[in-house]
């Protein structure tokens, strides 16, 4: 969806406009808004995008009025209608209005939308048909209670792509719940914490509601938990916690809050059997290395490594050793410093680390060195000569099929496309075994390489003539085989 720069309106102008609406009926206010989008006192961001065309503003005005119409506008207001309006408008403003996030954070944009675009809907939401009631300034001025801005903010903070229904948290929380979480401004500036609180609450909401002799127990649970979280936030940085750590701290806090109001906490695994819709799906980041291109390859397999897509810093020590191994397996023995640089480069290509300059005294360099040392103890790395290290294939572990493919291609290309086909399997096996640090040889491997050669000949990757092998036109279609390491 295209996103635009929106008109902005100063608070004094918005106040002046709303003062004119005092005592006016809804149709009069709506008529005043129709065709008034180009208010003479609006401003725009000087740079940064395309100004929203009037036609798009008219579309948004119609969209908001349509949703309001489904909730009772311009007739009698009901509590149910207001709740439905808030939920639906939040999603609409977030997903369909075309607001750049930076614009949606600004007070003056919401002042324009409330005072110029749909003042009739704002008045209906807070005043109803009672023309003598006044709409409080906080409902059209910027801030936490702005009629439209607060709805956009809720959608921004509580839409959670980890859930099978990303809008579940947003749709399930009520007005008091939203306020109870978002009023903790220091905590609520980061969506991850807000989402985790909402999820922990919804998992335990039924347990709170079941409490007798407690007034509004569900909201009491939110209030008690947020008080504890705020206290904890004085010396704990929630934003520094990983997803699992954050979930554990927030869950534990909610359990304590539930206990404090007389409830009985249950294990999260148990709670998830009642509410499977709140189970988080793991979002695996796609590696930025060429590994995403290998899906097309039936010729070389589809291995990406056990640690593909994982952040190096989020791994445990074994995983770190494995990630470094995957980044350098297939490389010849080299001095440790060179191996660390090669590993860092390989992991950067796989999207597991990011850095500008690899410093010898830096955290990443040290962590890779530790990972190699740990790998030495379990045999993933060897020290073939003093000061040298090499990643090797251990025990009965298979040699990655891409390594076979890469070396087959290299052997043929480096021969100048003039190599006797009979010599190729042995040459490839020797190279691969040297690179993988494997001593034993068997005729199985020779046969496997021959099978690969036959496959590649059929696919036109290799061409055979007079007993000699050369690369064929299909070599261009061969996907990158250097997915791990260089």
């Amino acid at each position: 969806m295209k996103r635009f720069l929106f008109p902005r309106l100063q608070a004094t102008e918005a106040t002046t406009i709303f003062a004119r609406f005092a005592g006016k009926d809804l149709p009069t206010i709506a008529r005043a808004a129709d065709g008034a989008m180009g208010h003479p006192r609006v401003t725009y961001a000087a740079v940064g995008g395309e100004r929203i065309p009037i036609s798009k503003l008219e579309e948004i005005q119609a969209g908001i009025r349509r949703i309001a119409g489904e909730c009772g506008y311009p007739g009698r207001r009901t509590l149910q209608g207001q709740q439905k309006l808030d939920t639906a408008l939040g999603k609409y403003l977030h997903s369909e209005a075309g607001l750049i996030v930076g614009e949606a954070l600004r007070s003056d944009v919401w002042q324009y939308l409330c005072a110029v675009l749909v003042p009739d809907v704002v008045v209906w939401r807070w005043r109803g048909a009672d023309e003598d009631r006044e709409v409080k300034a906080v409902r059209y001025l910027g801030g936490a209670r702005n009629s439209l801005g607060r709805l956009w903010l809720r959608a921004e903070m509580f839409r959670d792509d980890r859930l099978s229904d990303p809008w579940l948290l947003h749709d399930e929380l009520n007005e008091d719940n939203f306020v109870g979480i978002l009023e903790r401004s220091r905590f609520a500036r980061f969506p991850a914490g807000c989402r985790e609180v909402a999820r922990a609450f919804l998992l335990r909401r039924d347990a709170a509601k079941a409490l007798e002799d407690v007034a509004n127990p569900a909201q009491l649970l939110v209030r008690e938990a947020m008080l504890r979280i705020t206290r904890l936030g004085a010396f704990v940085s929630f934003a520094s916690l990983d997803e699992g750590e954050l979930a554990a701290v927030v869950g534990e806090t909610f359990d304590l809050a539930l206990k404090s109001i007389g409830g009985v906490p249950e294990r999260e695994a148990q709670l998830l059997t009642y509410h499977p819709e709140l189970r988080r799906q793991t979002i695996v980041r796609r590696p930025v290395s060429p590994s995403h291109e290998i899906g097309a390859s039936m010729l070389v397999g589809a291995e990406t490594g056990e640690t593909a897509g994982k952040d190096f810093y989020a791994m445990n020590p074994d995983e770190r050793s494995r990630a470094v191994w995957e980044a350098v397996i297939g490389q010849p023995a080299m001095v440790t410093h060179e191996l660390i640089e090669t590993a860092a480069d390989g992991m950067r290509k796989r999207g597991q680390v990011s850095y500008e300059r690899l410093r010898r005294d830096g955290v990443l360099y040290t962590a890779i060195a530790h990972a190699i040392d740990s790998g030495l103890k379990v045999g993933w790395f060897i020290s073939p000569a003093r000061g040298q290290r090499q990643a090797v294939v251990t025990g009965n572990a298979p040699i990655p099929s891409w390594l076979w493919a890469r070396e087959l291609k290299r052997v043929v290309e480096e021969s100048g496309n003039q190599i006797c086909e009979q010599e190729v399997p042995r040459a490839v096996v020797e190279t691969v075994f040297r690179l993988a640090g494997v001593q034993a040889r068997s005729s199985d491997h020779l046969e496997r390489v021959q099978t690969r050669i036959d496959e590649w000949k059929r696919a036109g990757v290799l061409a055979a003539e007079g007993g000699y092998l050369a690369t064929g036109p299909g070599i261009e279609n061969l996907p990158p085989v250097i997915w791990w390491g260089r």
């Binding site: 996103r3 720069l5 008109p7 003479p40 006192r41 609006v42 401003t43 725009y44 961001a45 000087a46 740079v47 940064g48 995008g49 395309e50 100004r51 750049i100 996030v101 930076g102 614009e103 949606a104 954070l105 600004r106 007070s107 910027g142 801005g149 903010l153 921004e156 903070m157 401004s185 609520a188 500036r189 980061f190 969506p191 991850a192 010396f235 704990v236 940085s237 929630f238 934003a239 520094s240 916690l241 990983d242 750590e245 701290v249 952040d311 810093y313 990011s354 850095y355 500008e356 300059r357 410093r359 005294d361 830096g362 955290v363 990443l364 040290t366 962590a367 530790h370």
Partner: protein
């Protein structure tokens, strides 16, 4: 920097401390000039990359915080914007094992998407405990996430100066085919005199002129880019002056709203042409156009870097 009133032991920080944080700088600034106050040239289309170095004396940190060698710390950086609704995210994380016997330097790189900012960005660095370990003293932090040290830097992104409203668009989609290769155009509203400058006119820049777009976005423009900028801003100023003079209703004694383009142009023309009436200026522009253009170039310091 924030001095923590902490319920547990925390390490010292500052020039002589266990933690020695460097200033934030733009990662694309080879001079690594500290980012202070406001940042020029930002808009929603400009993503920002910041960096700094933080020197951590591991043995001293361990000793001062009462942590064992089996503990681990974590350095994180979050950014958030707080003009209007506050919003942000964690943008960097590094695990720091505390088993080392020497100092280490961490250099975080923080990427901030320009379109998610609203006028400012606050960069907050936290050093927190991630793994408590078994060998810590009684007063040491125990809970993961416990803040050992933190600091925040606020960078204002828009400044207070007026900016020329510029929009980058593809001219092929907006104008006739024979106009599609133009570099820029200035569009002025019919009721420009009463409107705020951000609404009264805008400069459309052709997105297909990539070098021109790059010249405007580069925070450290080279000589060639500065010349391109100078040419653009001169032409915009020149067109606004000529447009004002061509409008018969425009006068130097007229009254327009204080923050309108009309009042801005009165001030601008009075400063460029002191002691001249609007009729005299119109006559100069009409009858001695070459002299008038030379004066405009000179007064706008064309190619002399007034807008750099």
């Amino acid at each position: 920097m924030t001095a923590l009133l902490s319920p547990f032991l925390v390490p010292s920080f500052g020039n002589d401390g266990a933690i020695r944080p460097g200033a934030w700088f733009r990662a694309d600034d080879p001079a690594e000039t500290p980012v202070e106050g406001s940042l020029k040239g930002w808009d929603y289309g400009v993503d920002l990359r910041f960096s700094r170095t933080i020197h951590i004396d591991i043995p001293r940190l361990r000793s001062e915080a009462g942590l064992g060698a089996d503990a681990e710390a974590r350095l994180t950086v979050t950014w958030h914007t707080e003009r209007g609704y506050a919003s942000g995210e964690r943008a960097f994380r590094a695990e720091i094992p505390l088993s080392g016997s020497s100092a280490t330097t961490v250099q975080p790189f923080v990427d901030v998407t320009g379109s998610r900012l609203a006028g400012d960005v606050v960069l907050t660095t936290h050093l927190v405990l991630s793994v408590p370990g078994q060998k810590s003293v009684a007063m040491a932090p125990r809970r993961p996430g416990s803040v050992l040290w933190t600091d925040s830097t606020v960078v204002s992104l828009e400044g207070t100066g007026a900016r020329v409203p510029i929009v980058v668009v593809d001219f092929r989609e907006m104008f006739a085919p024979f106009e599609a290769d133009a570099a820029w155009t200035v569009q002025i509203s019919t009721d420009w005199k009463e409107l705020h400058p951000s609404v009264a006119f805008q400069v459309l820049l052709n997105s297909r002129r990539e070098s021109m777009v790059a010249a405007l976005r580069n925070p450290q423009p080279g000589e060639h880019e500065r010349a391109m900028r100078s040419m653009l801003f001169f032409d915009v100023g020149r067109q606004l002056i000529r447009h004002s003079l061509a409008d018969e209703d425009f006068g130097l004694d007229a009254r327009y709203p204080d923050d309108s383009l009309g009042s801005s142009m009165i001030r601008r023309i009075k400063s460029l042409f002191p002691n001249k009436t609007v009729e005299e200026i119109r006559s100069w522009a009409a009858h001695e156009a070459d002299s008038f253009e030379r004066y405009l170039q000179s007064s706008h310091r064309l190619m002399k870097g007034t807008r750099e």
